[in-house]
Symmetry: D2
């Protein structure tokens, strides 16, 4: 187990604690699946409450969990007492989100003093099959409380 | 009342009918506020179910209603029987979404045979005050069923 | 002539002086057409040196002048001694850049302490006809020397 | 030598032939470094003609070669007689482009019937050191002549 791949326990704890306070994530039914240093995975079960008009998971739901995943990936690189805000993000929707669930994975590409850039990717899980349904990137800024 | 500013009743009806089938919009509590030719407004009341960890409306909720508004703005320019899919979108979050509600307005910038480009903007409504909280753009593709 | 629409002479002078040092702008043949508070226009004459394979102005040339215009629009809002760097930008290419020249106009949407967001638009000029060929947005960060 | 990693000779030839007709690439001094199935690399030597005001390679020059690289990466997946146009692209500038040259690498993420999505990355080469200076994504559309 490499230190670089595992954030300090306190960072994981801060991510979990903050995630639990995001009313939207709870309301959507999103789950925090993995938190490692510089990378966070959030999953969302497909159900009518997160669907678009054809029954697939809504692109807005995918983008919401991707945005949160990116924020928390950035947060794993921040000292205690810092927060991050999304400055902007771009998402390409590559395919409809069919299947039982969607997984959004965010990974820090560059973490600077003020700004962090994350890569965002999402997959639909359909039976045993993973399909790449979205790819994007996000810029975040550190805010000290 | 100019014809150009008012889509055929059938386009408005199609937008309303499709919106009603978007489970996510219903679940978030989003409301279709206005539908005109090439422009759609969707509002979202601030409440814990759409919040981030500080109680503001989550950027993911703002982007979800902005994405839907853009899709429906594009749809007002499509003939009956056509659908649109979001290809990609970018959103800059300009300020925290404080206040009682958020309003996302999408307007068609260019509508071609295959592709439509929309401008996306969102405002928070705090008492009588409107604050520009997000600006973005979206590319959509027409799909014939 | 409103004060708000006219930046301090020093800001105009700083923009002009910095533009003159951008080797790329000179090499492309770009011209600084207008500098007002929060908005900058740069024009580029169509010629083989800035073309793509069909003879239109290359999207990369349009994006280069749009990026510079945005940087200078942001700079008009900065105190003397500050610089700006592009954090990221998005450009939608709406139509081929045919005609005699391309004009990129950047306008500040929001200017904060650290970050500035600009809207970017480009037009082709073909005879007396202006055509909207690109729309985008840009995030910039202030850097104090 | 796997077939999948090497496009048909005709695709390489079409890319090289089209690149040679891009006046902007010639004028910037850009070189087509590598063409494989779904991936293209273009390099640009740092010199005053492609600089910004501090002597680094201009972000607009980096974005121009990244845009061209993406267009040609998409073209390697197209049948003869098809062209591609950039629909939109986003670029995050991660670090100043110092050093002797910049290299832009574009890779196809998804290639559909109408649309192709590419990932764009750029590195500065400073002595033996490669630094990741930009990351982005691009949507392109196929056009049949």
């Amino acid at each position: 187990m490499e230190r670089a791949a595992e954030p300090a326990d306190s960072a994981v704890a801060r991510v979990r604690e903050s995630f639990a306070r995001q009313g939207l994530m709870l309301h959507l039914g999103a789950e925090l699946i993995a938190v490692t240093d510089g990378s966070v995975t959030i999953a969302l079960r497909a159900r009518p409450e997160v669907s678009q008009q054809h029954g697939f998971v809504h692109g807005g739901a995918t983008s919401a969990i991707a945005d949160s995943a990116g924020g928390y990936a950035a947060l794993t690189r921040m000292p205690s007492g810092s927060e991050v805000l999304t400055v902007d993000f771009t998402l390409n929707l590559l395919a409809p989100a069919s299947g039982q669930s969607v997984e959004a994975v965010a990974s820090v590409v560059r973490s600077g003093r003020a700004l962090t850039v994350c890569r965002l990717d999402a997959w639909s899980i359909d039976g045993g099959q993973r399909r790449h349904i979205a790819t994007g990137q996000q810029t975040l800024i550190r805010v000290d409380r």
